[in-house]
Symmetry: C2
Subunit: 110 residues, 2 copies
DNA sequence: CTATTCATATAGGTATTCTATAGGAGGCAA
DNA sequence: TTGCCTCCTATAGAATACCTATATGAATAG
């Protein structure tokens, strides 16, 4: 991702993708557009980050891709969440919450 | 850091160190103990992560180290925040807040 | 028929973390 | 004084996940 926030995002990209796919199946660029739109461009997911991530997630069995046709008549791979992916999303959410709480504790210490 | 939360922490270690030092000068192990204590061991900063980070921060001019003696009579390097480090901490804080907000938006989308 | 856009893909580089290992030096016990 | 444990710092090497840059093919616009 870009915007000087890349490093703070390490490890959260997977979660954002899983969450996005939990709402509806989307193809790769669709996912990155959705994330960019929802965050008002705070996150811009680059193709070079996105596609390796998608392959990784598919490899792990958390998402499943199927070739289809995009809204623009282009050949596109649509991904959907698997049952394992849904469980994984839950884990990552809990983990993320715990991390944010821990960081908040440090940042508010006096 | 450990605890399966390492990757979610990429890039935040610097901020946690700067924040910790903003309260008082500490030597390396003292910093990691403080962070571990405040977060109830959610974060455990390993020496192999801590010392490279400290050297990096000193290199950037955000902290300054001075050799001294620890509370246990050991040779220890005490770090304190510089003026630049204080500004940097502010930037990282704002950045972090923005990232958390953006992620929250994605995670709460329906 | 050419250029642009859409969509996916990958190579190469960078940065930060982890694990593992090392070593000096103080404190303590026998 | 010998040996061991703890404290404190340090670094090498591997893993990971991101970035930039580049590539390809197919549909569409002009």
């Amino acid at each position: 991702m870009t915007g000087d926030r890349a490093d703070l995002l390490r490890g959260t990209l997977d979660m954002l993708i899983l969450k996005t796919l939990s709402l509806q199946p989307l193809h790769g660029l669709g996912i990155s557009r959705r994330i960019e739109q929802i965050t008002d461009s705070v996150f811009q997911v680059q193709p070079g980050s996105l596609f390796p991530a998608l392959h990784r997630l598919e490899q792990e069995g958390w998402i499943r891709g199927r070739w289809g046709e995009s809204e623009n008549k282009r050949r596109a791979k649509f991904y959907e969440l698997t049952a394992a992916g849904r469980r994984r999303l839950g884990e990552e959410k809990r983990n993320w919450t715990q991390v944010v709480l821990a960081i908040t504790k440090v940042m508010e210490a006096t």
